[in-house]
C-alpha cells in the first residue's frame, strides 16, 4: 500500500514539476541570503570557535527542508480534510486509517530525504562548510529525526485545527519556532538563561544539540537519540489515532 502513496506523491510532483524544482532551487538560496549572510556579519565571535559556515549549515538545511515539507502536510491533511476531498473516499476503503497515516508519514519522510540531499548539495556549494563525507553521514540520521518530529507537529496541527486563519497563524509560529527557538541558527546561549534552558530541553533543541555534539566533538548522545526516536514513535501512534477519529467524524 505504501507504493500507492509513493506513486501519488510522484504524480503530485510530476503535475507541478516546474514549481517544485523552482522552489527547491530558490528556497535554499533565499534562506542563505536572508539568514546566513546577515548572521555571518552579526555573530562576530562564534561560540566554541566553530566556523560560522559549519555551525549554520545543518540548521539552515533543516529550515529549508521543513519549508519544503509544509505544503505536503498542509495539502494532504488540512486542505483536503477541510474541503472534504479525497479523505472521505479514503475513509471508505478497507485500509486501516491509522496505517494510512503511518504510511503517509513514511512517504513524506522519503520525499523529504530526497529534498534534504538536494538542499545539502546546494548549501555545500553556497556555504562551502568544508565537511568530510563522514560529517555528512553523521548529520543525516539527525536530520531525519528532526524532520520526523517536525512532521508530527505539523500533522497534529493539520488534524486538530479546522480554521484556515488559525492554521496559517500557527504555521507562522511554528516556522518562527524552528528558525529562532530550536537551535537551528541561534545558539541557546544567546537567550536569557531561563528561556534558553526551556528551548534547550525541548525535543527539537535536544536533537540540534546532539547533532552538533556528534559533528564537532565526535560524541553521540545515544540517550537523547533514542529518546527522540521513542517520542517520534509515540507521537506518530497518537497522530494515527487522531487521524482515525477525524476521518470517522
Amino acid at each position: 500500500m505504501i507504493s500507492a502513496l509513493l506513486i501519488r506523491r510522484f504524480w503530485i510532483i510530476k503535475n507541478r514539476l516546474f514549481t517544485t524544482l523552482g522552489l527547491l532551487l530558490i528556497l535554499p538560496i533565499f534562506l542563505n541570503v536572508v539568514i546566513n549572510l546577515p548572521f555571518k556579519r552579526l555573530v562576530v565571535n562564534p561560540l566554541w570557535n566553530i566556523p560560522h559556515e559549519q555551525w549554520i549549515y545543518p540548521g539552515l538545511t533543516i529550515i529549508a527542508v521543513i519549508m519544503m515539507m509544509i505544503p505536503s502536510v498542509y495539502r494532504d491533511l488540512f486542505d483536503l480534510r477541510i474541503h472534504k476531498k479525497l479523505l472521505p473516499s479514503l475513509a471508505l476503503t478497507p485500509m486501516s486509517k491509522s496505517l494510512y497515516l503511518y504510511y503517509f508519514l513514511i512517504t513524506v519522510l522519503i520525499e523529504t530525504i530526497v529534498y534534504t540531499a538536494l538542499v545539502m548539495a546546494v548549501y555545500s556549494v553556497l556555504i562551502a562548510p568544508g565537511f568530510s563525507l563522514l560529517d555528512y553521514l553523521i548529520m543525516f540520521p539527525f536530520f531525519i529525526l528532526f524532520i520526523a518530529l517536525s512532521a508530527n507537529i505539523l500533522i497534529t496541527l493539520s488534524l486538530v485545527v479546522d480554521k484556515t486563519t488559525l492554521y496559517n497563524l500557527l504555521m507562522l509560529i511554528f516556522f518562527l519556532f524552528i528558525v529562532f527557538a530550536s537551535g537551528t541558527v541561534i545558539e541557546f546561549e544567546y537567550f536569557p538563561e531561563i528561556i534558553g534552558n526551556i528551548f534547550r530541553y525541548l525535543p527539537t533543541g535536544q536533537i540540534m544539540q546532539s547533532l552538533r555534539m556528534a559533528m564537532f566533538s565526535g560524541v553521540v548522545n545515544w540517550l537523547i537519540f533514542f529518546s527522540a526516536l521513542v517520542t517520534i514513535i509515540l507521537w506518530t501512534y497518537l497522530n494515527g489515532l487522531l487521524f482515525k477519529k477525524r476521518l470517522t467524524k
Partner: protein, 309 residues
C-alpha cells in the same frame, strides 16, 4: 429473495436532532431502491452515508450481505461503491490518477479493474476527461468520473446521492441509461431530486418523513393503495346530489367529490369510467378529463402541507 442490506432498529442523531428513527427493514439483492424525503434532507444523506460506511448508526445494527457493518467493516468495504453528492476527488491529481489511487486500496483483481475501467470510461464518454486535472473539470464531469471510480471496482451495492446532480441533459441521460443497464446486476440505492426519473427507475421507493419510512413500495402499489392510478373529472350542465349519491356507491371508486356541477373521482382502472357513464343517462356532460397520476401527485396528496413536495 436474499437480503442485501438489513436495518435493525437503526436510529441516528445529528446535533441532538433525530434524523433517522428506529428503521427496521431489508433491501433485496440486486434491487433498485429510490429514496425521497423531507425538504430538510439530512436524514436521506445520513441514510446513504450509513449504508456507504461513512457514518456508524448511533443505535441499532446494519447488516450488509449478512455481515455486521461495524464488526466486519473491512470485508463490507469491498462490496460497496458510494457516489457522494459533491465530488471528493483530489483537485491536484488527474481524474485517472485519483481513480487509480483510491482503487489501489481495494482487494480487486487488477485485470478486472482495468477491464471495467475501460468499459465504463467508454460507456460514460469520459475518454477525453480522465487525463485532466480534477480542478479543471466541471462538477457534472466530476460526478460521472466519481461514478466511473466506483463502478470500475464492480461493487455489489452502489449507493448514489443524486447520481446526475450538476450534469447537463446529455450526460444525465447517458448516466441514467448506464444505471438502467445495470439494473438486476447489483443493488442500487439512490436519492434524486427528479421525481420523473425515480418514477421510471425503481423496484421500490422509500419515502422518508420525520426520520421514519412513511411509504415503502413500488409506485404502482403506492398509487393503488393511496390515491388510485387515474383521476376523472366530469363536468355537467347540472349535477344533482341524488346522482352523486348513486355514483358514490359504485365499487372501486376512490375519493369521489362533488364540486358544484363537477364530479371528481379516482380509480385504479379506466373501466370504472364506463360503469359511471351507465348512470349518466339523461344528464348533459360538458367536459370529461382523465389524468394519470404520477409520483408527484401522490406526494402532493399525502404531504402537501408538510413540505415533501
Amino acid at each position: 429473495m436474499e437480503a442485501s442490506i438489513t436495518f435493525k432498529k437503526v436510529s441516528q442523531l445529528i446535533d441532538g436532532h433525530t434524523v433517522l428513527a428506529g428503521l427496521s427493514f431489508g433491501i433485496e439483492r440486486n434491487s433498485t431502491v429510490a429514496i425521497i424525503g423531507d425538504n430538510d434532507d439530512s436524514g436521506l444523506t445520513e441514510f446513504l452515508r450509513i449504508i456507504a460506511g461513512l457514518s456508524d448508526p448511533n443505535y441499532g445494527a446494519l447488516y450488509i450481505h449478512g455481515l455486521d457493518s461495524i464488526k466486519r467493516r473491512s470485508e463490507i468495504r469491498n462490496l460497496i461503491g458510494y457516489v457522494p453528492f459533491e465530488n471528493d476527488m483530489d483537485p491536484w491529481l488527474t481524474a485517472e490518477q485519483n481513480i487509480n489511487f483510491i482503487n489501489s486500496f481495494y482487494n480487486v483483481d487488477n485485470k478486472k479493474l482495468i477491464e471495467k475501467y475501460k468499459f465504463y470510461t467508454d460507456a460514460l464518454e469520459l475518454n477525453e476527461k480522465v487525463n485532466i486535472e480534477v480542478r479543471r473539470l466541471s462538477p457534472g464531469a466530476l460526478k460521472k468520473l466519481t461514478l466511473l471510480r466506483e463502478l470500475s471496482r464492480d461493487p455489489k451495492i452502489l449507493v448514489l446521492d443524486n447520481p446526475t446532480a450538476f450534469m447537463n441533459a446529455k450526460d444525465s441521460s447517458l448516466t441514467w441509461d448506464l444505471l438502467r443497464s445495470l439494473r438486476n446486476e447489483l443493488t442500487m440505492i439512490y436519492s434524486s431530486s427528479s421525481l420523473e426519473k425515480i418514477e421510471k427507475f425503481h423496484d421500490r421507493i422509500l419515502v422518508f418523513h420525520n426520520g421514519k419510512i412513511d411509504l415503502d413500495n413500488n409506485l404502482g402499489n403506492m398509487l393503488k393503495n393511496w390515491i388510485g392510478h387515474y383521476q376523472f373529472t366530469i363536468q355537467f350542465d347540472k349535477f344533482l346530489t341524488p346522482l352523486f349519491n348513486k355514483i358514490e356507491k359504485i365499487n372501486d371508486i376512490i375519493l369521489p367529490t362533488k364540486k358544484e356541477n363537477t364530479l371528481i373521482f379516482n380509480a385504479n382502472d379506466r373501466s370504472v369510467l364506463l360503469r359511471v357513464m351507465t348512470l349518466l343517462t339523461g344528464v348533459t356532460i360538458t367536459d370529461i378529463n382523465i389524468k394519470r397520476f404520477h409520483l408527484r401527485d401522490l406526494l402532493a396528496a399525502r404531504y402537501i402541507r408538510e413540505g415533501i413536495v
